[in-house]
Symmetry: C4
Subunit: 276 residues, 4 copies
Amino acid sequence: MLSAPALQQRFLSIRENKVFETFVIVVIVLSAIMIGAKTYAIPEPVVQAMKVLDLGITLFFLVEVLIRLVAEGSLKAFFRKGWNVFDFVIVVASLVPLEDSETALLGRLLRIFRVLRLVSIIPELRVLLNAFVRAIPRMGYVSLLMFIIFYIYAAMGAMFFHQINSELWGNITISMLTLFRIATFEDWTDVMYETMAVYPLSWIFYLSFIFIVAFVFLNMMIGIVLETLQREHERHDRESGEGEAGEVHWLREHVAAMEAKMTRMEQMLQDLHGRR
Amino acid sequence: MLSAPALQQRFLSIRENKVFETFVIVVIVLSAIMIGAKTYAIPEPVVQAMKVLDLGITLFFLVEVLIRLVAEGSLKAFFRKGWNVFDFVIVVASLVPLEDSETALLGRLLRIFRVLRLVSIIPELRVLLNAFVRAIPRMGYVSLLMFIIFYIYAAMGAMFFHQINSELWGNITISMLTLFRIATFEDWTDVMYETMAVYPLSWIFYLSFIFIVAFVFLNMMIGIVLETLQREHERHDRESGEGEAGEVHWLREHVAAMEAKMTRMEQMLQDLHGRR
Amino acid sequence: MLSAPALQQRFLSIRENKVFETFVIVVIVLSAIMIGAKTYAIPEPVVQAMKVLDLGITLFFLVEVLIRLVAEGSLKAFFRKGWNVFDFVIVVASLVPLEDSETALLGRLLRIFRVLRLVSIIPELRVLLNAFVRAIPRMGYVSLLMFIIFYIYAAMGAMFFHQINSELWGNITISMLTLFRIATFEDWTDVMYETMAVYPLSWIFYLSFIFIVAFVFLNMMIGIVLETLQREHERHDRESGEGEAGEVHWLREHVAAMEAKMTRMEQMLQDLHGRR
Amino acid sequence: MLSAPALQQRFLSIRENKVFETFVIVVIVLSAIMIGAKTYAIPEPVVQAMKVLDLGITLFFLVEVLIRLVAEGSLKAFFRKGWNVFDFVIVVASLVPLEDSETALLGRLLRIFRVLRLVSIIPELRVLLNAFVRAIPRMGYVSLLMFIIFYIYAAMGAMFFHQINSELWGNITISMLTLFRIATFEDWTDVMYETMAVYPLSWIFYLSFIFIVAFVFLNMMIGIVLETLQREHERHDRESGEGEAGEVHWLREHVAAMEAKMTRMEQMLQDLHGRR
């Protein structure tokens, strides 16, 4: 029989096969849609076949997770990695028999989250999610800044426009929702024309808000994306020696070697020079 | 008579002529619009002139494709390149006489796709389409991630808002369409206010969805575009020796030469040093 | 007792503590929301607890600002820095007793601006705001360009569409507001269809406007963000010696040293060479 | 008296003065707004003062243009530069007396274009416009690609949805306008739901269109902006020797010098080595 690492290697090679990946994607997506689209008449054999394929993928994935667990050696080491926990939870949740608890809310929710097996099985999705997770701290600060801007505008809106339309500007929380609506440009002119009838200069309020929010939002979003991307890109280039950053890294190493060589040469020259 | 490669060269030089290119663009665009705008009264001579010019372009293009085919030597080698197949199909489809099959659906569709001759004739459009095609694999994974997000939100929406408005939240597929509408900000507040009347906290559902989708979408789009562009840009610079990447590449080559020279010099110095 | 710089150091270490920062953010955000959401029934003890915590933060911040002032030595030196002035104003404004002037407009406004204590306390928000302030000059020129585009289109709109709908195109200032609405895509087709009934070709006016504004806006926004970011990024890299820019900077310094070394070596070689 | 180049220098130094620039911007913007806002009651002395200041700026600008013309030497050399022609036309058009031709269309148009004096006077706006003009060729090809996409979708729309709503899908040109409206998300769901009542799968038509257009548009826009910017940025860095590109350029020059030096050194070493 094969050892755990050898088996792990074999499963990895299956998983990295493009045909297998495409097959897995199609099965998971189709069975996810079938859960939702019960109202459409799908022939019974198709439904049964999909169920079997779907279960097969879950079992393949279960075996793979168990092999990874055995290969890791200890439970502690295995569960220290976030992705292992994620994979384990998803596979266990996918194995819960759902037919019995057809009407229960929990059962339905579990079925929905089965679609997350896609993330467990496709490594590219993990890369995308990793980038997303890494951007969260900076996004947190941007959200705080946005909150401050929304709050100040909402407080002013609640103060001045309260009498005009209390459904939109009744208190600060309602005003913040209205401002979010304005930020998405959803019928914002209706809101503006209403207050302009009372305060003709209130367009300054709306336009300045739109400008600031659009600028801060675009600024931050693009900034976050670019920084994450560029660092990733540069690191990859440097490590692989490809591209401009790779060449610069090559240069650095070779120039360092040349400098050492030169120091030795200067020493020898000084010897030659001094000896005479 | 000229040989096939010489003729090919001559046709290439005609095609790269800016005046000829502009003329071709104008004729194709105008005849495309004329197909569509039959209801407007266009003088008969103009229509006839356009038809002749349009046919002229198709013939020029047909001759050029045939010459390229002859120059290539074998049919197999010619049709191995994707763009050759594209060009050949477009030119043949453009030659099908359409007047007879005026009312047939196929005839009309063929006429529409004649506008694709623009892609065949203008090399810059091929560059743009190449970049587009190269971005598809990564876009596929982004689409999968978007599908997961839409699916989870749609399933929750169908579960909780089903009774409120079954036209918008009747099943998961309908809910996904509704969520796409929300993602484009199209009257999304109407949808939200409707469910907020029953679940006052449902704004969390909408806002979190909008935030996640906007972030993931912007992130991915910008990321894909930038990566494709930057690599293209760097590669071009390195090859042509222009710009920063070009200079870095120059540096790499010359530093390598210097290092070899230095190794020779150190050897000679050691000889000198040791001989005494 | 501790000296002012030592105390300053201690306060800085408290402030940089992540747990403390999170606590401060939660308290300030919650008390900001409570000001706005008076209409919701919040239990009295919670309100009292929040008030005490909120005051505690203001006092912590007051003490910190005072210590910084003492450490700086002179009032003049302290107030020369923009952020010190900002911190001082915010902390003083937060200390003004508001219960007495419940109904006064100034009192309410002061309470709203208390949320700006977030900016005073979280250094990351200052970094974001600094980037924002640094982008203002270039944004000013972009705004001017946008003003010119809006003005020319508004003037033409007011000239030609004045009779069609004077509420939208009555004079240039009203037209500019209408154009801003069109730029946000808010019911812009209604505006267009109205004028197309009189001038069938007026869609050219709208489409060209949308294209130019979208292009200029996107262009400028992305341009500003990227330039600010890239410079910041490069400077940081160069200073810290990390990343590509850091390696290039390392190269520059070491190549300069190598060149000096080489000059010395050539001199010695010439001596050796000449002496014989 | 001063020579033409010396005068030109003096005018340049006035123009680069920030206070003067701000003053010019304020006067031009205010007088532009006053033309439009005739309906508001502005005190007569203010109007008169603005007119005088406005004329003053035009005269200052006229003198400056004339001096530049004299300094250039020949009319031909002066008018070969695009910006000189632009400046000359704007200043001459601004001098045309307008009070007489109050109602004439040409007079009104001339007055509107007076706002373009801003571009003549503020060099930063020229830089922005230069970047814009430089992006036009590539934008032309992107527009062609967009036209092809719109055309194919419009033709299919006109073919299949013609009977459903001929106001939106009557012929290809009308369909293209409808598609542009869908691309801006303006009430696009209304259009979709209407056709979905007849063809339930027509959402594929709309969604694929939105995806392709959004992707191509964003892709191209960002691509164009970035490429223009990055080249500009790199060129500036290389020329000024600042930033990473500047350092790389410094490296290139110095490494070339080092290589020459090394060749000389190797020669000398070989002499030394061989002589023995």
